[in-house]
Amino acid sequence: MADPLLLIVAAGAAYLGFALFALSQSRHWQQVAPSHVAQPPQKKALRLLGSLALALSLSCACLRDGPAFGPVLWLLLLSVAAPLLVFTLSWRPHWLRRLAQRLATSDPRHSESIKRGPMQRG
């Protein structure tokens, strides 16, 4: 039972990691969360969370398959998870809306970035 569970967590964490990286880009944040709902969180924080999710994915892959197959499985999972996330952004962006709402801050310091909005990308 542990094997399929670890695989699911590894794949899910890879997907979540890429989702956080994508949301750290203004273009994709606006795709997912309507800008009037709340302020986007700090990019650095999102990217740190994203890296942690990818690290969790690697740990699960290594825990499941050991040091030889684990990293191979992880790298290839990344190559599958990233396009899946891109297709979600393109075709079903509302699936990620709840995640964006959870991440959104009400800190007024960041309201600047939203005013500048789509012009500021990266």
Binding site: A22, A68, W91, G122
Partner: protein, 514 residues
């Protein structure tokens, strides 16, 4: 760099698509075998399987006159015993047996996945002077160049990392998809192409052994003996009888500390100097190992033991990454999907090339777009439809089919090649409708293959019950392919007005690079 990417892609894209397509299918070559050879859809071999009891009597009957015979042991993916020998008519022969009953399985009259699709992937079935290997090698080198140059000319990799705009015009959307599959699949595609070249080092660098083995009479033989292992000894020309094969297999497993054998060969079986070769399975490692142990056939004593030297171990690890001989279903599926993503990368590269030039070529009266479009349609949808045709022919032809002197396997591959040729002709003659009509052909043929499988193997629904996942999976993927093809066809049909709009002079100069 742009011109390099463009020219290498347009000139060799068709070969690369065929390689990626057949390579992706080869990931499941044995499952395709099971589907195409219904009599081999067997339950797993029993655990107490004995070579002495099940194989020896068969081999002594069939291969009595053969100087050597080999037996591939049943595995999860290939649940049959496969005996290779030289028959009484001096011809090499291959027979499959049911490991549980020892019954001979009738010849299924097909090359299947391992005999047609897999070799197509690395040599295109062009045997003359190894030309097929060389075409594949050149295309693989070009693919390495394309992957690297693609990264260089793609200026905003990180900004556009997650970018895909399917609702934009076809030219933009296909470039997005091309970048997406190219960048996100890059680690996989690069390693696969490079390792593919490394596997065939002996073909691409045929004279390399001469440098090290210059003073030996046969440099190539000396090299391959050192690299891949080889042992033999002269016949005694006195009769001898074989000791227990099961005993030798057990001894090999002990020496490999639990490693399982997958192949056993008996050389000069009736001679006092007989040799038994046992090769180790690679199911539990990424590396495809070269471990082999040679036993004295009459006593069961170890004569020689081979393991790859460190440099060869690296080569075998890299090969193993490519050959997926390990048992890992999650990775196998990911390989399949990422291989197909390479197909998408090549196809969208073609489509972008076409869309970026359609208007200007029409204006200048150039034929380039029409020629490349016919080439693209034939090498993308054409080869997919032909593969489906190959499966349909497999289920349509009776076991003893013969026509114009061709045997059943040739009739199957003939159906493949004829439809493939026809798809190029069709694309040249009906450029406007070729995409749509060929995707429709894929959908129809794939569904037909599933229906024919259900009709001809009768026990269809029970395959799920009996855990025949190879056949079930194959049918499932065929149906999925039909759905995707139908969707793609509809999409192409809806795209038509947009295509015309692109023909107007208002071109976007940003998209004209290369």
């Amino acid at each position: 760099m742009g011109w390099l990417h463009t020219w290498a892609g347009v000139v060799l894209g068709s070969v690369m698509f065929a390689m990626f397509w057949m390579g992706s299918l080869s990931v499941f070559d044995r499952e395709i075998d099971r589907w195409m050879m219904p009599a081999t859809r067997l339950a797993a071999a029993p655990a107490d399987f004995s070579l002495d009891r099940s194989v020896l009597p068969i081999a002594q009957e069939l291969a009595a006159a053969s100087p050597q015979w080999g037996i591939s042991l049943p595995t999860e993916r290939t649940p049959v015993l496969r005996l290779n020998y030289v028959g009484a008519d001096k011809q090499r022969a291959r027979r499959d047996f049911d490991p549980t009953t020892g019954a001979l399985i009738a010849d299924q009259g097909t090359l299947g996945g391992t005999g047609f699709i897999y070799p197509f992937h690395y040599m295109l079935h062009i045997k003359w002077r190894q030309l097929g290997y060389w075409i594949v090698g050149v295309a693989a080198m070009a693919m390495l160049v394309l992957l690297v140059s693609g990264v260089i000319i793609h200026k905003k990799i990180f900004t556009d990392f997650f970018l895909f705009r399917p609702k934009k015009q076809l030219q933009r959307a296909s470039l997005d998809l091309h970048n997406l599959t190219g960048v996100l699949g890059l680690p996989f595609h690069f390693v696969m192409v490079l390792s593919g070249l490394i596997i065939f080092m002996g073909i691409y660098f045929p004279t390399a052994p001469l440098a090290t083995y210059a003073d030996t009479p046969d440099a190539k033989k000396a090299f391959s003996g050192d690299a891949y292992g080889r042992y033999n000894r002269d016949k005694a020309n006195q009769p001898g009888s074989l000791a227990s094969l099961d005993g030798m297999v057990a001894s090999a497993e002990q020496q490999w500390q639990g490693g399982r054998p997958f192949f056993v060969r008996v050389i000069n079986p009736a001679d006092a100097n007989s040799v038994v070769e046992v090769r180790r399975s690679s199911a539990s490692d990424i590396m495809v190992n070269l471990d082999q142990i040679y036993f004295d056939g009459t006593t069961g004593a170890v004569l020689s033991r081979f393991e790859a030297a460190p440099v060869m171990t690296v080569q075998r690890f890299i090969s193993g990454l490519h050959l997926v001989q390990f048992k890992h279903w999650a990775l196998r599926w990911i390989y399949f999907v990422l291989g197909l993503s390479g197909c998408v990368m090549i196809a969208t590269g073609f489509i972008f090339w076409l869309e970026a030039r359609r208007a200007s070529h029409a204006k200048k009266g150039l034929k380039g777009v029409r020629i490349v479009e016919a080439l693209t349609v034939g090498s993308v949808t054409g080869i997919i439809a032909s593969t489906a045709m190959f499966f349909v022919a497999n289920r349509l032809l009776p076991l003893d089919a013969q026509w114009l002197g061709y045997e059943r396997p040739q009739l199957e591959t003939g159906a493949f090649y004829l439809l493939w040729l026809a798809s190029f002709a069709h694309a040249a003659l009906r450029p406007r409708r070729a995409w749509r009509e060929q995707t429709a052909a894929i959908a129809v043929l794939a569904v037909l293959a599933v229906l024919l499988d259900a009709l001809t193997t009768h026990d269809h629904l029970s395959t799920v019950m009996r855990g025949q996942w190879a056949a079930v999976g194959m049918d499932g993927v065929l149906l999925l392919a039909a759905v995707i093809a139908a969707f793609a066809g509809r999409h192409m049909a809806q795209r038509k007005p947009v295509l015309r709009a692109v023909r107007s002079p208002s071109r976007n100069p940003e998209l004209e690079h290369g």
